[in-house]
């Protein structure tokens, strides 16, 4: 459905995307994971046909965005990073106006809009002005709007950034339903839990390049251990314990606020730490996540 080869996006001297290869199949749910400035949004804008490819080749539905941009855009839905709803208009009018851009007859726009408001659980706010909605509701409305042309492909740029946990879960649920209906989802995120929840497959981007690719679970298996032990020592002393912990676990990461120890069995790791008469202020055993994969691959946290 989407094939990109050696994709590059340049802005003047700055290379935002530095030659990436992507292949996304129909019906798949695909994620771009990475910190701010990794090149995720630039890639999404190229796929959305609103940013010309600087070099390399890109095909969407087998079509070239350079010559068939409008035709491709007619078949995709876009949820931009920042909501660009018309805040002075009613919810229903926002959807109808947007549907008209696709030349959908007004009556049909209205029918689909009612259906979509229902789908994103905003039917009771139908006649309210958008300005009065909460952040999570605006996000849901933007998603509803992106579906008005019944897209085969939905592009979501950081769909849940800045939302509270409950709002995120409602959104995830809606996106999951879309996926079940066969809509191809492509999203960017810097939340690993979001990527694990939603993506069949993902790429980890850093500095305009793809640094890893695979299914979330597989990436964790390949690049991290099964479990992680998180230790907190008194502020500023984490590094002092590095040598004392040197041979415990498969691998260690010393972060400003905590020390991570990777291994198969977290409780066993903690027992070893205690056996050395080391007494961290707190200790937590958890399963390894994509955050750990990212840390391993780049030496930095995802959300800084």
């Amino acid at each position: 459905m989407i094939v990109g080869e050696n994709l590059v996006k340049r802005f003047g001297d700055f290379e935002a995307v530095r030659g990436i290869d992507i292949r996304i199949e129909r019906g798949e749910s695909f994620g771009f994971l990475g910190p701010n400035g990794a090149g995720k949004s630039s890639t999404m804008r190229m796929i959305g046909c609103v940013s010309p490819v600087s070099s390399g080749s890109l095909r969407i539905f087998g079509l070239d965005p350079a010559s068939h941009g409008a035709e491709i855009r007619a078949r995709i839905g876009v949820v931009p990073q920042l909501d660009n709803l018309d805040t002075e208009l009613k919810l229903i009018d926002n959807l109808v106006v947007y549907g008209r851009y696709f030349d959908i007859p007004r009556k049909e726009c209205l029918r689909r809009s009612e259906e979509l408001l229902d789908f994103v659980q905003l039917a009771d706010r139908r006649n309210d002005i958008v300005e009065t909605l909460s952040g999570g509701m605006k996000r849901r409305l933007t998603i509803a709007r992106s579906l008005i042309n019944q897209p085969e492909l939905l592009l979501l740029d950081e769909p849940t950034t800045g939302l509270d946990p409950q709002a995120r879960h409602i959104l995830w649920d809606r996106l999951y339903r879309l996926k079940q209906q066969g809509v191809t989802l492509v999203l960017t995120t810097h939340y690993m839990d979001e990527a694990e929840q939603l993506c069949d497959r993902l790429v980890v981007m850093d500095g305009g390049r793809i640094v890893a690719e695979g299914a979330p679970r597989q990436l964790i298996v390949d690049h991290s251990s099964r479990e992680v032990l998180e230790l907190r020592f008194p502020a500023g002393t984490n590094a002092d314990f590095e040598s004392a912990l040197a041979d415990i676990g498969d691998r260690r990461e010393v972060l400003p606020d905590r020390v991570l120890i990777y291994g198969h069995d977290g409780d066993e790791l903690l027992r070893l730490v205690h056996a050395r008469d080391l007494h961290p202020e707190s200790a937590l055993v958890r399963r390894s996540t994509l955050e750990d994969v990212f840390l391993r691959l780049t030496g930095r946290s995802l959300v800084e």
């Binding site: 802005f11 609103v50 876009v78 660009n84 851009y101 030349d103």
Partner: protein
């Protein structure tokens, strides 16, 4: 049945306008009406007492001279302001242009829709002024009706020129200077209140290169039934020329910004 893309862009403005048109139209009428009353009656009573003034104005009362020009100045203001804050908002605060760009619409179609919208917006205001002028005996003339499209074109020219600049802006802090340094001087020196021939010779030619003067002259000539074919053709060509230039620059700048 399919609708032209530009018309679909234009429709989106109607949705916003639907909520605010009553106060908007009335407020836009207020300024020309104030000038008709204040200048036309007040200054007019002074001017009309001098015999030489009458010949400078073309042997008509001051109010008759002033009225038609206000159609053009009104259009200029409406057009220019429509292409400042509301237009930047489309790129930034509301982001409606960004939203359109994500759909099947092309930047060219978006600009075409904007031109259509500016035409509507200026046209409505000009019509309002025309109705007022038709109600006043001194300014009543069938020529006022012909002046409506001329003044509207003036507004669109200003919108297109201003819009081509606005679409390259990131911030609105220089916008009020456009009004202080461009719009207000043109309003005063563009020939609406007195013939530009009354100005010092050094300043006079400036008027000829602005769309406003050509629109003011043509509107006045039409309403006084003294428009010659040759001059009218020049005025119309200048107005159309400015619209075309502004339009082309808008297309280029919109494309650069929306498909960056």
């Amino acid at each position: 049945m399919s609708t032209l893309p530009s018309v679909r862009v234009w429709e989106s403005h109607l949705y916003v306008m639907r909520r605010i048109w009553k106060t908007d139209v009335l407020l836009n009428l207020l300024q020309p009406v104030l000038f008709i009353l204040g200048m036309g009656l007040g200054v007019g009573s002074l001017v009309d007492r001098r015999v030489e003034s009458a010949s400078t104005l073309g042997d008509v009362p001051y109010l008759t001279f002033l009225g038609p020009g206000l159609m053009a100045t009104t259009a200029m203001m409406i057009g220019a302001f429509e292409a400042l804050w509301p237009l930047l908002g489309g790129f930034k605060w509301g982001g409606s242009f960004e939203a359109m760009a994500a759909t099947e619409l092309t930047p060219q179609q978006v600009v075409r829709g904007e031109v259509l919208w500016w035409t509507t917006r200026c046209g409505i205001s000009v019509l309002g002024v025309a109705v007022v002028l038709l109600c006043i005996p001194e300014t009543r003339s069938i020529g006022i009706v012909w002046a409506v499209p001329v003044a509207t074109a003036c507004g669109v020219a200003f919108a297109a020129l201003t819009g081509s600049w606005t679409s390259t802006r990131e911030f609105d802090n220089s916008f009020s200077n456009i009004s202080r340094l461009v719009i207000t001087p043109l309003f005063l020196f563009g020939g609406a209140f007195y013939p530009v021939s009354s100005l010092p010779d050094a300043i006079e030619p400036i008027a000829y290169v602005t769309p406003l003067w050509h629109a003011v002259e043509l509107c006045r000539d039409l309403s006084l039934h003294r428009a010659g074919w040759g001059e009218s053709l020049v005025h119309v060509s200048v107005l159309v020329g400015f619209i075309v230039v502004g339009w082309i620059m808008c297309q280029r700048n919109f494309a650069k910004r929306l498909h960056r």
